[in-house]
Symmetry: C2
Subunit: 209 residues, 2 copies
DNA sequence: CTACCATGTCACTGACCGGTGACAATGGGT
DNA sequence: ACCCATTGTCACCGGTCAGTGACATGGTAG
């Protein structure tokens, strides 16, 4: 019952080995969570000696830094599909896309779920940096996509958006962990559809049709 | 640099020892999180031998069961202050009380934060049971307090409420972990006040004034 | 060919973990 | 006074962890 390895045997290829270590760390995190992310486990999975982690990354911390950059790059890549729909016509539509897009992207991304769970369970400077990078990427996307759309002046949009994003994140995490949240089943697709509808309604109620 | 102990030396007092074990497990969880909740650590903190955990609870699992009941009792106790304000006059007011009350209660309750982080990071039958108990307690409070207030028929209240509760929970957890969320600082009280306002607005927008 | 350095492997340490069996102390019932 | 179950303590086991020093291997520059 050993996890499958992502990397083929390399030979005297430092860059390749280092990349394999990062790759396997990533996979291990996605599959088993941050608890399993130890020096021994990563080296074992990558099929090389843990000594190399110390040599090439200066220890687990260094490897996690590299992993962090890798993940940060994933975030912006994940946001790209949202632009395929063209420019939104209203602030409400903008937020609707963001919220629903985030919901879908997060649901599909076990790795990101693990990272977010990690951030919550065991804060650390590295993790906090990752969170920062994520919300920054979200902010950038907002700025670019928003154009000159503005929310109604009487609402505190950053705060309201934080509520929306937090709800999406928490529900996805709780759903992945327990298959339900607050009495809502979150297994079949139509459970999620109900949620999407509620999200839309909330956004419309906040920002107008 | 050892954690302070909650319990004084006991002598041949099985019930007292067992209670001290539960109590110290609780404190340990609140202070250091679920990662630190091991047989050795609990026994050390309680000032007795780990063997007693096996004898009295059949192992860590059994102790955690007892801990779970303890925590479940806390939940309903935490909900009580919400009733001090008398009956709400509208469904919106009901949900406003629930959301803001939950926000405050969670912010003040490190233990509950730890439990929720645990649930998300490392799902297990016990933890899922705890979650169930919590949402059940919330539901009971709702039923009792609601009276015959009803949400507007066109909104999916359970789904919308799930969004509200999820947002509250996630923001509290993220705030405790990183001191901010989605670009909002969550340190000083006025940061939180902004959030409360946004929550109120969202609820009013959903359920009417 | 040789010497050297980068790469990779191995064996070991010390610490901590959960778990278990044997033993010591206490106090109540007879 | 004695017995004995209950309560509590201790020492030890096997396993895993992070971390380190020594060693094998292979490519390459001289």
């Amino acid at each position: 019952m050993t996890a499958s390895k992502d990397s083929v045997p390399r030979q005297r290829d430092r860059a390749g080995t280092a990349a394999a270590l990062v790759e396997n760390a990533k996979a291990l995190l996605a599959e088993q969570g941050f608890q399993a992310l130890g020096i021994n486990a990563i080296a074992r999975r990558a099929g090389c000696d843990k000594q190399l982690i110390y040599r090439y990354f200066g220890g687990l911390e260094g490897l996690l830094d590299a992993l962090g950059e890798d993940i940060a790059a994933d975030v912006t890549r994940r946001l790209a599909p949202l632009d395929a729909l063209g420019k939104p016509q209203s602030y409400a539509e903008l937020m609707e896309r963001l919220a629903l897009g985030l919901l879908q992207a997060l649901r599909d991304d076990r790795l990101m779920q693990r990272v977010m769970a990690w951030e919550i369970a065991e804060p650390s400077p590295l993790l906090t940096r990752l969170t920062l990078a994520r919300s920054k990427a979200l902010g950038m996307w907002m700025m670019q996509t928003r154009g000159n759309l503005t929310p109604p002046p009487e609402v505190d949009a950053p705060a309201c958006n934080a509520i929306l994003v937090a709800a999406v994140q928490h529900i996805v995490l709780a759903g992945a962990a327990a298959g339900q949240f607050s009495g809502l089943a979150l297994r079949a697709d139509d459970d999620w559809e109900r949620l999407r509808k509620a999200l839309k309604r909330t956004i419309r109620a906040l920002y107008g049709a």
